[in-house]
Symmetry: C2
Subunit: 82 residues, 2 copies
């Protein structure tokens, strides 16, 4: 079973990488770009058949390793769970 | 209008970062993790009201700057487009 995790910077946290991308896009002529925020995307393959158990496990991974709760928030997407 | 871009390594491309995350998760006791692939996630805010035009623009951004087509593939998600 595959879980997908989206890690984003919280609103208000400076995103120098995103700003650099925005600057580069503007330099390339993409004048309609107003803001770019850069985050992480993880695909985690689990030996788990219960979607709810998979989701709980992945959420714990986020809290313990993948996400810095001071500046980042996360969203977990597991097929078959709300 | 906000577009979301998911950039992933193509299948078969080595992912040392993902492997490092997998190793760390195993060390923390998450024994059911089989594979971890790490990608990028971008939120792009556009001054554009036409969803199809926004999608076309973001896909061009991917081809010209955001994605290395040799080793990466991408998916664009714009509300109101297929």
């Amino acid at each position: 079973m595959q879980a997908r995790v989206y890690v984003t910077l919280k609103p208000g946290v400076l995103d120098p990488q995103g700003n650099a991308v925005r600057g580069s896009l503007e330099a390339l002529g993409f004048s309609k770009v107003q803001d770019v925020r850069l985050g992480k995307y993880l695909e985690i393959e689990l030996a788990e058949t219960d979607p709810m158990a998979a989701r709980a496990s992945v959420e714990e991974m986020c809290r313990r390793l993948l996400v810095n709760p001071v500046v980042e928030s996360f969203r977990v997407d597991v097929p078959g769970t709300p």
